[in-house]
Amino acid sequence: MAKGVKPRVKVPKTAAAGETITIKTLISHKMETGRRKDGDGQVIPRSIINRFTCAFNGENVVDVNMEPAISVNPYFQFDANVPEAGEFTFTWYDDDGSVYEKKKSIKLA
């Protein structure tokens, strides 16, 4: 498991039924592209987060396949529909097999 990986998510605490809210996510991750070389000229092996998903009450909001061209500390901002109170689940899939998960619940205003 890569060190220092910390997911951060910004979701409003409440929303009106049917409202569209904006979600911001950021996960600290070095996103090693596999193209850089260290001081001895050895290629540093690739180690990135290759997939990110967000689901609301089990329903998919966004599912992103990521390549090494995504910057360090991958950041995503997107919109979600909130038809009812519930819970957002955010999942990041690392190249090394680790899965990072974060949940945020939202109430109806």
């Binding site: 569209t20 592209t33 390549e67 090494p68 995504i70 910057s71 997107f78 919109d79 979600a80 529909n81």
Partner: protein, 138 residues
């Protein structure tokens, strides 16, 4: 060392692939778009790609894509060592078919976004971004 006919074919085939690979990496914008669409012509409306005209640091270039009615948006960087950047698949819970992220660019190049619409058609947009310092650590 004698080659049989089969070995000769195998070696020449491998050489051909090796010579074609760099060409593939330098693929032009229309080629990349048709790779995604499977040869279907992509229309130019219906998708917005927002990227800075000049990015001082290629390591983090903020981009955002917005394509109302799309089921998926693919983002490509034509001049990167590998052109693929990300593919956004939008589910039923998405409020709008848009997303903002930060990408790496190796140098001045075209950033391309291709949206796949719900009816199976494609829309594409591209924008040239000038990069002062490349972001691929070459």
């Amino acid at each position: 060392m004698n080659f049989t006919r089969r070995e000769t074919l195998a070696v020449s085939g491998a050489t051909l692939v090796a010579t074609l690979l760099p060409l593939k990496l330098m693929a032009s914008t229309p080629d990349l778009i048709s790779d995604i669409t499977g040869g279907v012509k992509a229309s130019s409306g219906g998708i917005d790609l927002t990227a800075p005209e000049i990015a001082e640091n290629g390591n983090t270039v903020p981009i955002s894509v917005d394509a109302p009615g799309a089921v998926a948006i693919t983002v490509l960087a034509a001049g990167n060592p590998t052109p693929g950047v990300a593919k956004f698949n939008f589910g039923m819970g998405s409020g709008s078919q848009s997303c903002t992220t930060r990408i790496r660019l190796a140098g001045t190049q075209d950033v391309i976004a291709v949206a796949e619409m719900a009816d199976g058609s494609f829309s594409a947009a591209h924008q040239t971004v000038k990069v002062t310092i490349g972001g691929c650590g070459g």
